[in-house]
Amino acid sequence: MSANSAAVNAISCRSADLHARPTPKLPSRRALLASTALLLVTQTAGARTLAGGTGMPWRPFAGDPPQAVEPGPWVFFTPEEGAAVEALVDRLIPPDAETAGGKDCGCAVFIDRQLAGAYGSARGLYMSPPFLQATPEQGLQAPSTPAQLYHRMLVALDAFCRATYAGNPFAQLPDGEKDRIITGMENGSLQLQGTSATPFFEILLQDTRYGFFADPVYGGNRDMAAWKMIGFPGARYDYRDWVERYNERYPHPPISIAGRNAGSPLHP
């Protein structure tokens, strides 16, 4: 894992509390009986009391599956920011003859939705002051959230580009210029609004890779293009027949936890 950011480990504070889930209205009489364990849950001595003697609790439809990202307009980015990020991710992971680039793989959409959610607001992270100067070994000590960092640096990047390239935003620049700017961000030679752009480069690169390789349910890795490119079968859960087949390419296409909805071909 790259060593750069408090935002690496964004937390989505999903509730694991089964009670948060709606109950089917008319459970059968036996299902009611079966849920005895849950109904014995009391509020007398804590958040949730599970009394022994009734077995492992369970209820129908329990679970906490991910919410699939829907296509559509930007949620977090302004249109200009979205265009810039699409241009950035398409240089970080450029398209080639066989595999789409970061833009068409949905990396910018992925980042947009992540920044609009728990990750963007650093929810779940320890954000109490004081924020002091840290050694590299102590990790990032930044009071700003990833959302704030992105907004700040995208504004700065836009200002830089327009000032340097005759009013053109980043997305309008030739690929060579884009790469020159990204290289400057990477090696620290490019200052944006007086600060090094390297932390932003690192978080952007990391998030772009997440979008490229994460399950398509989150909006990136469209059509599982990244998984197909490298030969990773995705959310498959059973390789018993393949563990001892040596030096042989696994033949089945990847699948997504989002199912066929996300375009996953099926294992015949």
Binding site: P24, L33, T36, G55, M56, W58, I255, L266, P268
Partner: protein
């Protein structure tokens, strides 16, 4: 140790009954026998509300005609059965005529309990007299008009109720007769496993051939090899009733409760007797089904979904893992005439029964969020027709209805 005590109690009680003595309701062996018979009759399934005190009533019974609440049968004088005479109790259990002459609904399985011996019913009463009296007034009748008219039960009884104690078949061994008594009287297996007519009466010509009840399919228990338990041995049946599973099947849904509350507590001898009796039921149910073609698009789609989503537990070959993941290949449960239970467990998941003998109680997750109605229909059709299985195809409409019935917004594609 408990089994030994119980065994003694049974012997003592049997000898008392044989001498024609009125049982002493305060005798240890009578109370103990009553507890055993109340377990065999699974009284608690309805009369103990979830999280409520034992036998204090209030458990809801969903019937096709509306909701009934099971009454309080603790010895509380005002709200329970503390004020009843033994005869009134026996009358209620065996004829459905409650205290004060009111007619009970046959959700109380008096059509089965009528076959219980008077001694056994008195013993149950003796046991109930020892439980904690609970003041809990239950308004049992929640039915809409016209079903809330209890007098209607007089006509219903005339049509569908044959009163009378169990009569052993002298041509059959004692073990068979003991099994018949437990199946036909106490365990009231037919309540779920025998198809019902429009008025809720048993279709006796199709006894034990399987039936839909409360959005579960209670499978065929006849000797049919394809649909029933024709291939099961006596030991397989007894193991299933004792532990909730065997190499063919795992109990879930209502049967999980029946195993948990009732059959897993029966003696090995009684379970064996039940098995002997059930094994003697002639094959019944529909004839051989034509399997859905493997070339059918739904089968192709179903196979893909199965291999991707189901095989990590049930295995590609459908053989499952003994005591953990149910076998699907060749098992009657997946080839019943209706796929109600299969559709249901794919949508909402399921918890297998846990017993002292097999405490794991594995659960299957809900796939409602992941699979569309067509996906569920395809994969259930595939399961019913793969590996040599044969059963009717399932339509997306059936799945949609079940989804709706289960009152759950479909988030699936």
């Amino acid at each position: 140790m408990r089994c030994m005590l119980l065994g003694c109690a049974l012997v003592l009680f049997a000898s008392a009954a044989a001498r024609g003595q009125y049982p002493d309701k305060q005798a240890f062996e009578v109370i103990e026998h009553g507890r055993y018979m109340a377990t065999a009759a699974d009284c608690t399934a309805c009369h103990t509300a979830p999280g409520g005190k034992p036998f204090a009533g209030g458990g809801a019974l969903e019937t096709p005609f509306g909701t009934l609440l099971a009454p309080n049968i603790t010895p509380d004088i005002g709200t329970g059965i503390g004020g009843w005479t033994d005869d009134q109790f026996v009358e209620a259990v065996r004829t459905g005529i409650g205290h004060g002459g009111i007619h009970l609904y046959p959700a109380m399985p008096y059509t089965y309990y009528t076959k219980l011996t008077r001694e056994d019913v008195i013993a149950i009463r003796a046991y109930l007299d020892t439980v904690e009296p609970v003041g809990n007034l239950v308004q049992a009748n929640q039915l809409p008009f016209p079903f809330n008219q209890r007098e209607a039960m007089v006509g219903w009884n005339a049509l569908y109720f044959t009163p009378g104690e169990f009569k052993p078949d002298p041509g059959k061994p004692a073990e068979w007769n003991r099994g018949a008594y437990l199946v036909e009287a106490a365990e009231h297996c037919g309540l779920c496993h025998t198809p019902k007519n429009a008025m809720g009466g048993d279709e006796n010509s199709q006894a034990m051939q399987g039936s839909v009840l409360q959005n579960w399919y209670a499978p065929n228990l006849t000797g049919s090899r394809r649909l029933g338990i024709g291939d099961w041995t006596v030991d397989d049946i007894a193991l299933y009733l004792k532990t909730g599973r065997n190499s063919y099947d795992t109990a879930s849904g209502p049967m999980a409760d029946a195993v948990m509350h009732s059959t897993s507590h029966l003696t090995d001898a009684d379970l064996r007797a039940i098995a002997v009796y059930l094994k003697d039921l002639p094959p019944g149910g529909s004839g051989p089904a034509q399997p859905v073609s493997q070339q059918d698009p739904a089968m192709q789609q179903g196979q893909a979904i199965y291999n991707n989503r189901c095989a990590a537990c049930h295995t590609v070959a459908g053989i499952g893992i003994v005591a953990l993941f149910p076998r699907l290949s060749g098992t009657p449960l997946v080839q019943q005439s209706q796929a109600t239970s299969l559709i249901r467990v794919v949508l909402e998941g399921s918890r297998a029964v846990a017993t002292d003998a097999a405490p794991t109680g594995p659960a299957m997750p809900s796939f409602a969020w992941q699979l569309s109605d067509a996906d569920v229909a395809a994969v259930v059709t595939y399961i019913r027709n793969a590996w040599g299985n044969a059963a009717s195809a399932v339509s997306a409409g059936e799945v949609a209805n079940m989804r709706q019935t289960l009152h759950r917004d479909a988030q699936a594609p």
